[in-house]
């Protein structure tokens, strides 16, 4: 999209830490530190170990999805299908759990990965807009979910004593396994993005596609890979959620794509592509979840304010980013 931004310039130095880039990243981090500090002082329950564990677990599912979205957005694309794919992944995992741990884990990864692959192929090979392709697969994945669940009437339960439930509910020092899964994946994602040639290709694809083509960057393959990754990760997040909830809830994930996009943007990744960090996304997830947590702590405050505050917050961040970039 044509804005006054000049992505070509910023893309030229993907690895180099320009001053504005540092400012942006630290901006989100500073905000997170401030919000956490204030919450800690004002709300005695905020700092309790129980609440922090809860907070980290809530953030873990979103972080896994947002990680895939970060890659997609850095290539200059967008993936609207993740909310539906997330729900589908959960249902597939719950359905598969009757056939054992491996099926419960692999089925959602494979099917959701395939949906991502089709997204990627359509976007890379036919020059259709990512927005509209993934909008279609948002509908498709929801439809597929309804087919499997008898139009949403059936909710598959996961046997409480199965190993798969352990994946969602097991803990180390009280911290749930999904937190570690998300942490390992984000670490891995950061390394891939900054230390591998694939990561360089992701930046190049989003920075200046034409120049990337001329430089011999495999644009099509990079795009197919990022959308496949995004689909797979959304499916994994769904599977983890199902394991945690011990069932494949059919109605979750509506609008989740927008949450994921919001945290990626708050984390300083540009929607124009060519620039972004995994750390920023993790900080973005932290910010949104801490704010939601705090609003829940204020018992008297209407829960409807939660989305108002999230909206205002998103706005402040993007306006600040814009001003910092000038």
């Amino acid at each position: 999209m044509t804005t006054t931004a000049t992505p070509a310039n910023t893309a030229a130095v993907p690895a180099g830490a320009s001053r504005t880039k540092v400012l942006q990243r630290q901006g989100a981090a500073v905000a997170l530190a401030l919000v956490v500090a204030v919450s800690w002082l004002v709300f005695p329950r905020f700092g309790s170990l129980d609440n922090l564990r809860d907070l980290a677990l809530q953030g873990a599912f979103l972080a896994v999805i947002a990680l895939g979205m970060t890659f997609v957005i850095i290539t200059g694309g967008i993936d609207l299908s993740v909310g539906s794919v997330y729900a589908l992944g959960g249902v597939l995992a719950a359905w598969g759990s009757q056939h054992g741990f491996l099926v419960a884990l692999l089925l959602p990864l494979v099917v959701c990965g395939l949906i991502g692959l089709v997204n990627g192929l359509l976007i890379a090979r036919t020059n259709m807009a990512p927005f509209i392709v993934t909008l279609a697969s948002l509908l498709f994945a929801r439809g597929l979910l309804l087919v499997i669940t008898d139009e949403g009437a059936t909710t598959y339960q996961i046997p409480p004593d199965s190993a798969f439930v352990e994946l969602g509910r097991g803990t180390v020092f009280g911290f749930g396994y999904p937190i570690f899964v998300a942490a390992v994946l984000c670490l891995l994602g950061g390394v891939v993005l900054n230390r591998t040639s694939f990561g360089q290709n992701v930046f190049a694809t989003g920075g200046a596609e034409q120049s990337a083509v001329l430089m011999g960057v495999p644009i099509a393959r990079t795009k197919v890979l990022v959308y496949t990754t995004s689909g797979t990760l959304a499916g994994l997040a769904g599977a983890l959620t199902a394991a945690y909830l011990q069932s494949g809830v059919t109605v979750i994930g509506v609008g989740l794509e927008l949450d994921a996009i919001a945290v990626v943007v708050i984390g300083g990744t540009l929607l124009t592509g060519g620039m972004g960090t995994v750390l920023g996304t993790v900080i973005g997830v932290g910010l949104i979840k801490v704010i939601q947590n705090v609003i829940n702590q204020i018992g008297t405050l209407d829960s409807n304010y939660q989305s108002v505050v999230s909206g205002v917050f998103l706005l402040i961040v993007v306006v600040l980013q814009r001003i910092l970039r000038r």
Binding site: T2, N127, F131, S137, L139, G143, L258, V312, R322
Partner: protein, 314 residues
């Protein structure tokens, strides 16, 4: 280019421009032949009434997309309009409707300001209002669904003029107005020019900021109109559900109607037919007892097919 290649190109070009009309024609023919009681006055009226709010929103969306933007906040603006109606209904329906429309304009100006002046990407700028707008609507309404009883206001949703439901009439008039605005006014030419190449439009001295804010304001007020009509038809203010996922329906209709997401072109008649096509598909599937699951997957396929046909060649 060989003759054969020229012919193929011409055929593709024709399909790009007219595919949506052909699709609507084929579906109408199919239903006329195979669906009982489809082309009855009662059913056609029902279908049109259902499609009217989507069309009104899609008209505004077409203008925004023509500027190479997108407005994700339309559903939230409908919810805001719905929440405002009961607050002022005591002072009369005209006051209530005016206040709802003013809120729509303000929401649109807000979006437009963020996009045009601050320079934030349309997706993010309008995402903020999508997230916050519905929350604000729920705060205003205290999270409650409010039954409405004002007969004059409810007449908007139930009344008709010479057999044509008022909401359909409003949608029709607005479609003509938006078509005239796009094709016959300086504003229309400017918005298409901005969508085609914003930098060039700026260099050519077009009032880019003013036009963009105007376009988003129009989109906002149209979403509010749709919210008012839908609220009246529901005879209740329901900010929790009003306009939910409307942004996706509207964008789909606009794109299926042949307006490219890359901007620089607005097809108003195509948008009307895009809305009609999506409504026809849904109605056809329901009448033939196909479950919702299949309906959603077929809609996905139609979107892909429409965009595939209309895509820009490399």
């Amino acid at each position: 280019m060989t003759l054969k290649a020229t012919r193929t190109a011409a055929r593709t070009r024709w399909l790009q421009d007219n595919g949506v009309y052909v699709a609507v024609g084929v579906l109408l023919l199919f239903n006329a032949l195979f669906t009982a009681n489809f082309l009855t006055l009662g059913n056609v009226t029902t279908q049109l009434v259902q499609a009217a709010p989507v069309l009104i929103v899609a008209l505004g969306m077409a203008l925004v997309i023509g500027t190479e933007g997108v407005d994700l906040s339309v559903g939230a603006v409908m919810a805001l309009a719905a929440a405002i109606i009961p607050l002022y209904l005591g002072a009369g329906p005209l006051v209530a409707i005016t206040m709802a429309l003013v809120a729509g304009v303000l929401a649109g100006v807000f979006n437009g300001f963020l996009v045009a002046r601050v320079g934030i990407q349309p997706i993010v700028a309008t995402l903020a209002l999508l997230v916050g707008g519905r929350g604000l609507a729920l705060v205003i309404a205290d999270g409650q669904l409010v039954q409405l009883h004002d007969p004059a206001f409810l007449a908007l949703g139930t009344g008709d003029v010479l057999g044509v439901p008022i909401s359909v009439l409003v949608a029709g008039v607005l479609a003509v107005a938006v078509a005239a605005l796009t094709n016959r006014t300086t504003f229309g030419r400017q918005l298409v020019a901005i969508g085609g190449n914003r930098k060039a439009a700026t260099l050519a001295g077009l009032p880019v900021t003013r036009v963009l804010i105007g376009v988003y304001a129009i989109c906002g007020v149209l979403a509010a109109v749709a919210g008012v009509l839908a609220t009246s038809r529901l005879s209740a203010s329901d900010p929790a559900d009003m306009g939910l996922l409307m942004e996706l329906s509207a964008i789909t209709a606009v794109v299926v109607g042949g307006t490219p997401l890359t901007g620089g072109r607005v097809r108003v008649l195509g948008t009307v037919f895009g809305v009609v096509l999506m409504q026809l598909v849904r109605a056809t599937l329901i009448k033939h007892d196909l479950p919702d699951s299949i309906a959603q997957m077929i809609q996905a396929a139609i979107i892909i097919a429409a965009v595939y046909v209309a895509r820009e060649r490399r």
